[in-house]
């Protein structure tokens, strides 16, 4: 009995000592180094407008519905791209709700981008991402939206294509992962083109 009591006391002390080091000192040290070396990233990679308002984060997708903007993927985060409620649909492959949503998205995508009724639609354009905040769309998806955006904005196809290329994040180090077009960066760049 005495040993149990002593071990319990030891467990309490160990919990407290480890909590101070692992949950107090360690995260604060990481905070300090992060703020010193990578302040932009550590604070959320925020993008500010010319008048210093925060307009978004490089990493968090936003909803764009107007025809003059490139459109992101469908999102299940809150009411769509709600960055305080990240989530996927979690619908399984035989879910009626999933199939209905994709069907509607395919029809809308074809109409918006003036595609023939039997055109294949890129998978990422009509499916929801895992986080609901996917900042990227596939290059193929972006290419199919170029004509619409350039027409609405009165920009040349080449100018829009150049903006798409500039907003494309390649695979990391050329090897890891997939290329993707950052929709928010692309759309903000197009807005800046227009104001110039």
């Amino acid at each position: 009995m005495k040993t149990i009591f002593k071990e319990t006391l030891r467990a309490v002390m160990a919990t407290l000592v480890l909590a101070v080091i692992l949950c107090g000192i360690y995260p604060v040290v990481i905070y300090g180094i992060g703020q010193l070396l990578f302040p932009h990233q550590a604070n959320g990679s925020l993008i500010e407008s010319n008048d210093r308002r925060i307009v978004g984060s490089e990493w968090l997708g936003q909803n764009f519905t107007s025809a003059k903007y490139f459109h992101p993927r469908p999102s299940a985060a809150g009411s769509g791209y709600d960055a305080s409620n990240s989530s996927g649909t979690n619908l399984g492959p035989t879910s009626q709700k999933l199939i209905d949503a994709v069907k509607a998205a395919v029809a809308q995508y074809r109409t918006e981008n003036n595609l023939p009724a039997d055109a294949l639609v890129p998978a990422d354009a009509v499916t929801s991402s895992a986080s609901g905040l996917d900042p990227h769309i596939s290059v193929q998806n972006a290419q199919l939206q170029v004509a619409r955006v350039s027409k609405v904005r009165g920009l040349s196809i080449d100018a829009v294509k150049a903006a798409v290329d500039k907003a494309t994040d390649g695979p990391s180090l050329g090897i890891f992962g997939e290329a993707g077009v950052n929709v928010l960066k692309l759309n903000l760049a197009l807005d800046n083109l227009a104001t110039k």
Binding site: I30, N43, S95, S172, F176, G177
Partner: protein, 608 residues
């Protein structure tokens, strides 16, 4: 299944193989109370101070009962610590978003889940937890539950390596040394790397961004009291709402994510876990997070070989793990790349694969690889939603968990788990040739087999028992007519059953990933899932420590011509066979009702 995927797979395997020996050698020093490491000048004083404050005599070793008592008491105390913080978070500091009280059953589930290295989450982190809860209540267990796992594995290995010995190591020394020399230094470097990739680490309140393209949604109208207003037809009245801002989550994320991956914990800072762009910003951060999951478990196989003075055994175990890992990746990758045939009918380009619930930057291959790794190990972080995988793509993570997460496995948990299968395999080999089974110079006797069988039975009993209860009870399936689950909004049919089976597999296996369409934040689910995590951890660890004690006491028997060698391809094959047969016999009927039947229904175009 494209070339770039194959290149990444080969690269991943090569790097994993390359770090196994150096990590193993380092582990030998860390797990020896008198071990020497290059970190001694910095950490030794801290280690000594910790022993002094806690009154631990590092020279005194424990027998298995003392080891188990210390481990259980520490787990209990630290679990209570977490429970109390979660319950009090509303009045504690570091809560800029004014997160409210966490209700009892959720606090119990979360505390049990993090203490057991499971990290099942019935909540969304960014909308539930204060910075203090994340950083202290949860991240503490990310470290110590991993360290406890490593300690148990080391105790079992000592039991095998020693002979006619009473003790199997000192729990407190294993806990402190694994944390200080192994986990903390790697996390310091890894967290900084993660920040460089775009992960956040700050203490400021959430930011608000103004949208360039505001849009309108329909929401239910509420009166001043916050109740939904119904129209004359009884349906809620919908009103337009303009969304012109986006709330941007902040907080101390990088410090927690580093140990979340390295300690195979897997509990997300955010609801979307490693799929969230902040929590896994680039494919490079993704690659290193996957490597972090497997690093220590892989190193431990080398540690095993060196400790039992049979390096061939260590590599044979590594090879068995690798074979099953590779099989899982290829199956999952194949089915995810093939996509959903029903969607192809409606004009979705099949070349893209099954992108529902996946992120563009990871694509099909890295989602399949991550899903396999996170469930081979007991990590449970996800960079894609397993619930939206194709039936057989989703079968892989589920089966990985049900095999006991011994394919590299959780830190420590993987090694002690596979050692149980090794004992069973050796026993079967002994039966086949009609000799008393021997393993590395130890006779395997009825007591040892009983303990090993107990471990395997606890897994099966908890997973299948709880799943059956959930399917038969009104709490698991609230609506007997529609068979809709919990909140009645997600998946039906065989997929709904898979969600339940996956939940109890994940919790018992201490994994923590989910087929997340199932809403488990109910008193019944939180309680039963919480108990499943506790069974899956402690009802396994105690027999394993008993086994370690029993093995340590045994005399060494000299090798003879009839000894079954514990190394080489034949041993690897026997081990793989044992794992697959035990797993298949136990879980095949349940899997047939879930993902397997769903696969055929999907090809028949049947929807639910």
């Amino acid at each position: 299944m494209n070339i770039s995927g194959w290149i990444q797979l080969i690269l991943f395997t090569s790097i994993l193989l390359a770090i196994t020996k150096p990590l193993g050698l380092f582990l030998i020093q860390v797990l020896d109370a008198n071990g020497k490491t290059f970190l001694d000048p910095v950490i030794k004083p801290l280690e000594k101070l910790t022993y002094k404050l806690t009154g631990v005599d590092p020279k005194k070793e424990h027998d298995w009962k003392q080891y188990a008592t210390a481990m259980l008491l520490f787990s209990l105390v630290s679990m209570l610590f977490t429970y109390v913080i979660l319950r009090l978070q509303a009045v504690l500091p570091l809560n800029p978003q004014k997160m409210g009280v966490i209700i009892e059953h959720l606090a119990f589930n979360t505390a049990a889940s993090f203490t057991t290295n499971t990290n099942w989450q019935s909540y969304g982190g960014e909308s539930t937890m204060s910075y203090l809860s994340q950083m202290v209540a949860l991240a503490l267990h990310n470290f110590v539950s991993a360290a406890v796992g490593i300690g148990i594995a080391a105790a079992l290995v000592r039991g095998i390596a020693r002979h006619t010995a009473k003790t199997i190591g000192n729990f407190w020394v294993d806990l402190v040394r694994s944390t200080y020399y192994l986990l903390l230094p790697i996390c310091l470097v890894f967290a900084i790397f993660l920040i460089s990739q775009g992960m956040i680490q700050n203490f400021k309140p959430y930011d608000t961004a103004s949208l360039a393209d505001p849009y309108t949604i329909q929401v239910a109208k509420v009166d001043d009291a916050g109740n939904a207003v119904n129209g004359p037809d009884g349906k809620p009245v919908m009103v337009d709402k303009t969304i012109d801002t986006q709330t941007i989550v902040q907080g101390p994320m990088a410090s927690q994510i580093a140990i979340k991956m390295l300690g195979t914990n897997g509990g997300g800072y955010t609801n979307a876990n490693a799929a969230h762009p902040y929590e896994n910003p680039t494919p490079l951060s993704n690659f290193l997070q996957m490597l972090a999951i497997f690093a220590i478990p892989s190193g431990l196989t080398y540690y095993l070989g060196r400790m039992v003075k049979n390096q061939g055994h260590g590599w044979a175990v590594w090879a068995a793990m690798f074979v099953i890992f590779l099989g899982g990746v290829l199956v999952c990758w194949h089915y995810e790349a093939a996509g959903n045939p029903i969607l192809t009918q409606f004009g979705v380009d099949p070349a893209g694969g099954n992108m529902e619930g996946k992120e563009v930057r990871f694509g099909i291959f890295n989602s399949a690889l991550f899903a396999t790794i996170t469930t081979d190990a007991s990590c449970g972080a996800v960079n894609a939603m397993h619930d939206s995988f194709t039936p057989l793509g989703g079968l892989v993570p589920l089966l990985n968990i049900e095999l006991g997460e011994i394919i590299f496995g959780g830190v420590g948990a993987g090694l002690y788990g596979i050692l149980i299968f090794i004992i069973i395999a050796v026993f079967i080999a002994g039966l086949m040739v009609g000799r008393t089974p021997e393993f590395l110079g130890k006779k395997i006797e009825p007591y040892d087999i009983k303990m090993a069988s107990l471990v395997i039975l606890v897994l099966a009993f908890s997973i299948l028992g709880f799943s059956a209860w959930a399917c038969m009870s009104k709490w698991g399936l609230p609506d007997p007519v529609t068979h809709q689950l919990t909140d009645g909004t997600n998946n039906n049919g065989p997929h709904g059953f898979t969600e339940i089976l996956y939940a109890y597999s994940s919790c018992t296996g201490n994994n923590g990933s989910a087929f997340a369409g199932i809403g488990t934040n109910t008193p019944w689910y939180n309680t039963t899932l919480g108990f499943a995590t506790l069974f899956g951890r402690f009802a396994m660890i105690v027999p394993i420590l008993a086994l370690a004690g029993s093995l340590a006491r045994k005399k060494r028997v000299p090798e003879s011509a009839g000894t079954f060698p514990a190394h080489g391809p034949l041993f690897t094959l026997l081990l793989v066979g044992t794992i697959l047969i035990v797993g298949a016999l136990t879980f095949f009927p349940a899997l047939a009702l879930g993902p397997i039947v769903e696969h055929f229904l999907m090809h028949a175009g049947k929807l639910f």
